[in-house]
């Protein structure tokens, strides 16, 4: 890659499809998360609940807390549909960050990743394709600014890498004991408990080492075209395994979404869409009727 083409890659224009697919999936996942939290808004975000964060003292009355969660859910739905995408991203970022700042007792890695993602979506042209915004503008944009997409790619890659660094320095990860104990911890799902009851220690240790190896090396290889499909396939398998054995909310689904939308060559997705469209029994996937 020449200096000029490298600059084009990071700073120039790019295909809008990866951002559009990620935006649609992320918005749907976040909307689901907000709706799951809605019945608990009084406890989690209102002045009636208990908070230990810097802004906990300014937690709003229950009715306002419910309204904030509804705003975040509606904003996330708008992001998913690509309706007023940039404005929806800014509103959802403000609402989610405020809620996240109040409930620090229950804070998880997933929640801070959402803050960064919403900020990057607000910066991006994520609504330029496969969206209501694009339909209103007369069709998908042929290209969008590449930098927000690259920043999103870097965001997920760095989470992998530094999670791997943290495990490398943590006592018990290399030996597999942390993973073994996690499978019987309060975070374990019923499947996790079942796996823990029969899996040999040596297999757990191997899985722990593979996890660390993937987290340290995978994020670099995601940017190497020949290695990318293998890293994505391994990453999806890893996340499916974690998701089925440990209660981590939608962290796994979010990372799978990022792996399959943000990193592959957009031509791959276009081939998938063409394949599906050719096999649809009536009309076309974009709603247009096929010519006779």
């Amino acid at each position: 890659m020449t200096h000029s083409s490298r600059a084009d890659h990071w700073l120039g224009a790019t295909d809008p499809l990866p951002l559009a697919l990620y935006r649609a999936g992320f918005g749907a996942l976040l909307c689901g998360e907000c709706l799951t939290r809605l019945p608990y808004a009084k406890e989690l975000y209102s002045s009636v609940g208990f908070h230990r964060s810097g802004v906990g003292a300014w937690a709003p009355p229950p009715s306002v807390a419910y309204a904030f969660v509804l705003v975040a859910a509606a904003g996330a739905a708008a992001i998913s549909l690509g309706w007023r995408t940039r404005a929806a991203s800014v509103v959802t970022l403000a609402a989610w960050t405020w809620l996240h700042a109040i409930d620090q007792i229950n804070e998880k890695a997933l929640h801070s990743v959402i803050v960064v993602v919403l900020a990057l979506l607000a910066l991006s042209d994520a609504g330029a394709a496969r969206s209501l915004d694009a339909r209103r503008a007369g069709g998908d944009a042929p290209a969008v600014w590449a930098t927000p997409l690259r920043l999103l790619q870097l965001q997920f890659a760095q989470v992998y890498f530094f999670a791997g660094v943290a495990k490398l320095f943590a006592a018990g990860w290399i030996t597999g004991s942390v993973l073994q104990l996690s499978l019987s911890s309060r975070w374990a799902t019923d499947t996790g408990l079942w796996v823990a009851s029969w899996i040999p220690d040596v297999a757990v240790r191997l899985l722990a080492l593979l996890t660390i190896l993937y987290e340290l090396v995978g994020p670099w290889l995601l940017f190497v075209p020949w290695a990318r499909p293998w890293v994505i396939a391994f990453g999806v398998s890893l996340h499916l395994g974690i998701q089925s054995t440990l209660s981590i909310g939608w962290l796994g689904s979010h990372f799978i979404l990022a792996l399959v939308t943000l990193y592959p060559d957009p031509a791959t997705w276009r081939r998938v869409f063409a394949y599906v469209r050719a096999r649809l029994p009536v009309g076309r996937a974009d709603g247009m009727t096929a010519p006779p």
Partner: protein
């Protein structure tokens, strides 16, 4: 260059990438280099999934003292319904440092005493942390754990409730 690929966007993009890379790299390596306090939010919250696990279940328990000297165990679950994990509520995730738990005692007292009849008002609360070793492949409820296998640490003893509710 296309309409979306402008010199201004390229300059902004270069600055954003540089700031992002510097922030993330500095934050990411701060902790292993012993300067974790220098890492920046929100990046420094995303790296600790299942970072450690000591093999124990932990449970905070609350013994309340009434005005007439009666003692009872308080059930906080009706106030904390969000499932923090498969077997715990949000209050179980609280830090065990006494300062945090004193603030929690104040919160519990104010919330209970506000509506309770005078005879049922709480005068003080003791908080203990009960832990027991996990059983591989099984989720053993606290009530089924034999007493000798429970490790109980009293963190606060008869921490007084505030005198008046606001």
């Amino acid at each position: 260059m296309t309409a979306v690929d402008t010199p201004l966007r390229r300059r902004v993009g270069a600055v954003l990438l540089a700031v992002y890379a510097l922030t993330v790299l500095a934050s990411g390596f701060a902790w292993p280099l012993g300067h974790g306090q220098r890492s920046l939010w929100p990046f420094n919250r995303a790296w600790w999934m299942f970072h450690r696990e000591d093999g124990y279940y932990y449970l905070l328990r609350f013994a309340v003292l009434y005005g007439d000297g009666r003692r009872d165990e308080a059930d906080l679950d009706p106030w904390f319904t969000w499932p923090a994990s498969s077997s715990t509520r949000r209050y179980t995730e609280l830090s065990r440092d006494p300062a945090t738990l004193r603030v929690f005692v104040r919160y519990l007292c104010l919330r209970h005493n506000r509506d309770a009849p005078p005879a049922d008002r709480w005068r003080a609360i003791s908080i203990s942390d009960t832990s027991y070793r996990q059983t591989r492949g099984r989720r053993v409820p606290f009530r089924q754990v034999p007493w000798p296998e429970q490790r109980v640490t009293e963190i606060l003893h008869d921490e007084p409730c505030p005198e008046r509710t606001p």
